[in-house]
């Protein structure tokens, strides 16, 4: 009873860890924001971006069109992937339907060998798509006629292949992006709200009057935040790699775990600073949102930064989330290895150190 024993030291660490974990698990709102909402975003964005990649066009065919009707069955199947053709009996109805947007264009046979395409300029991309597709069909037919006439093979043939696997599929940037955002949100909020609420309720003061070391208080918070972040990572990867989402993990994907750890500590340090600055939970909420929202948008958590102005890309280097998102992308699905992850981890740890030192300076046991 006279000296703090080893038992009381480890007991305080275990007790505080348990308290914080229970508080998190029983807090439905926290659980929702930490797990459910990011997953909902993954589902939503996953389907949203999937639709955006295909440029399927619907056309109305008026009367017989020789080029289209004479396409052989196997080529017809290929054509159907990009073009859906419906027969419309008369021109006037077809024009109206194109104007309304029911069809992207109408095709009819003109005098002589002419194929007439009439399109709406409302959707430039689709208008271009229709023209390109019909153009290539006409050219091919033309070529075949020419070849049959001259009994010669084609002089030039175009061979195409997809490069999609080398570029980013939506799920490949969505998974690390939304995971990073989820981890940042729960780590920052967890650290800052528990600090504010414990100070406001005078629990910090009560802890100060118990033989509990500051190491046990900070250590238990680190442990719980880390466990939550790892659970988020596991659930996210499990969902993203299902056939529905189709994320394929490359060789060194496990490097995402140490990356997540280092980033979590960096976010936690931010939370400790906002928690030290804010006097009430409401203020902490506001400050945290002001930090998290711009950081998420400017770090490429929701969309890739490749097409953003260069100043945004420059600015993004300030945020730890950017490094997590970029490196996680690299190791998860672009075959990145230790060489990609290590510098990021080092940087994140350095960030953690500097920001924690700032939090330490701002820290106060009491609000008075």
């Amino acid at each position: 009873m006279t000296e703090p024993t080893d038992r009381s030291r480890s007991g305080a660490f275990a007790g505080l860890s348990r308290v914080m974990l229970i508080a998190f698990l029983r807090d439905r709102t926290a659980l929702f924001f930490a797990l459910l909402m990011p997953l909902m975003f993954l589902v939503l964005f996953g389907f949203l971006f999937k639709g955006a990649t295909s440029a399927h066009v619907k056309v109305a065919q008026v009367g017989p069109v020789a080029v289209l009707d004479s396409v052989p069955p196997d080529a017809r199947a290929d054509l159907d992937k990009v073009l859906t053709i419906h027969q419309v009996p008369d021109e006037a109805t077809a024009v109206k339907q194109v104007e309304k947007g029911d069809y992207d264009a109408l095709i009819e046979q003109g005098p002589g060998g002419q194929v007439i395409v009439r399109y709406s300029a409302a959707d430039q991309v689709k208008a271009g798509g229709v023209q390109a597709v019909v153009q290539s069909v006409v050219q091919q037919a033309d070529q075949q006629v020419y070849q049959q006439a001259t009994h010669q093979g084609p002089a030039y043939t175009l061979v195409t292949s997809q490069v999609e696997d080398q570029s980013l599929k939506p799920i490949q940037f969505l998974t690390p992006g939304l995971l990073g955002w989820a981890i940042a949100t729960s780590a920052i909020f967890g650290a800052s709200l528990s600090l504010v609420s414990w100070r406001k309720k005078r629990l910090l003061r009560r802890l100060r009057l118990a033989p509990v070391s500051i190491g046990a208080i900070v250590g238990s918070r680190v442990l719980v935040t880390t466990v939550v972040a790892l659970a988020q990572t596991a659930i996210f990867l499990a969902v993203a790699t299902t056939p529905t989402f189709g994320l394929e993990l490359t060789g060194e994907w496990w490097l995402v775990i140490p990356l997540v750890l280092c980033a979590t500590w960096a976010f936690m340090a931010i939370g400790l600073v906002t928690g030290a600055l804010a006097k009430t939970e409401e203020a902490a909420n506001g400050i945290n949102q002001v930090v998290i929202l711009p950081m998420s948008f400017l770090s490429g958590a929701f969309f890739p930064l490749d097409n953003t102005p260069s100043w945004i890309q420059q600015l993004s280097h300030v945020f730890p989330l950017r490094y997590l998102v970029t490196s996680a992308q690299s190791v998860l699905s672009r075959g990145g290895g230790l060489g990609d992850a290590l510098p990021t981890m080092g940087g994140l740890l350095l960030f953690t150190l500097v920001v924690s030192a700032l939090a330490w300076r701002l820290f106060d046991w009491d609000d008075a």
Partner: protein, 305 residues
């Protein structure tokens, strides 16, 4: 004689306010000591300095022979502190809460549960702390302050907001705690509570200790009038005055309001003798000064912050 708390000339200033202005106190081991004073008297700051939460600008403090400031991990297991606002962790039940506090001191779950039983919360052990009544929360917070069996306990307004039943039950608990040999320092706004529980009290105002002593001694020193009342109509007011004068009983006022005949005097003995001779004792009540009168006499009656 061992001393639990020694404070010698402590002072604390916040900006322009001299919150504590030279407070000296000695609390003996095993004593039940009350710290009284109106709001803004400097009680809270004094308590915080004694507990070791704040550093005094001047003066010396020792708890159980050790200075509480700076934070002394060897002293902390020997003191127990209960706060005014019940400081509990979010979304925990009563049992989880006390076990958590026990873990800070390396105290096992069984001893923690024992304290829960002792404050009568075994049936509410699975209730979340935010769903508990005021009395339950207060008892839990006292149990949390005592879970590690401290020698010296600080209780800050433990009965505020409780109903009379809960208050009396808590008094029994506090008496028991003290009877087990623990030193208790209590702050309270209820002077009847201090009078019943405390061996000695200190009345504070404007950052200073105005008077220290046993409640009964402070009341006696006040030398206030005693109010004696019997049923109205037993004696005529004018006749009563004459009888008292004849008997040499000195009275300051005699008054009949139609319900009671009231007599104020510093010497109740002769007055009671006269009333006895006249067979006029029906509905007799004798009321002396209380600690509350001492308090108001010392600190005045104007409103405080």
């Amino acid at each position: 004689m061992t001393t639990a708390i020694t404070a010698d000339g402590i002072r604390k200033r916040y900006g322009d306010v001299q919150a504590v202005d030279g407070v000296s106190l000695t609390v003996r081991a095993g004593e039940f000591f009350g710290l009284l004073g109106p709001n803004g008297a400097g009680k809270t700051t004094t308590l915080e300095i004694l507990e070791g939460i704040r550093e005094a600008d001047e003066g010396r403090v020792e708890l159980l022979g050790l200075p509480p400031w700076p934070r002394n991990p060897r002293l902390l297991p020997r003191i127990g502190v209960q706060f005014q606002a019940s400081a509990f962790f979010d979304r925990l039940t009563a049992r989880e809460t006390i076990r958590t506090f026990a873990s800070f001191y390396g105290v096992g779950a069984r001893q923690a549960d024992g304290w829960l039983e002792r404050v009568g919360l075994t049936d509410s052990a699975a209730v979340r702390t935010d769903k508990m009544s005021g009395g339950q929360a207060q008892r839990l917070s006292i149990a949390c302050a005592l879970v590690h069996d401290p020698e010296l306990v600080f209780l800050d307004e433990p009965t505020t907001g409780l109903d009379p039943q809960a208050r009396r039950n808590l008094w029994d608990l506090l008496r028991d705690i003290n009877a087990e040999g623990r030193t208790v320092l209590l702050t309270t706004h209820y002077l009847d509570e201090a009078e019943v529980l405390c061996d000695r009290v200190a009345v504070m105002d404007h950052g200073k200790v105005l008077r220290t002593g046993a409640p009964a001694a402070l009341v006696r020193d006040l030398d206030d009038t005693v109010r004696i009342s019997v049923e109205s109509g037993l004696l005529d007011v004018a006749a009563a005055r004459e009888l008292f004068t004849a008997a040499g009983a000195e009275v300051t006022a005699v008054h009949d309001d139609g319900v009671l005949l009231s007599i104020a005097t510093r010497l109740p003995g002769p007055v009671l003798a006269v009333l006895g001779e006249q067979q006029a004792l029906r509905g007799l009540e004798v009321r002396g000064a209380t600690l509350e009168d001492v308090f108001l006499h010392l600190t005045g009656r104007e409103y405080r912050a």
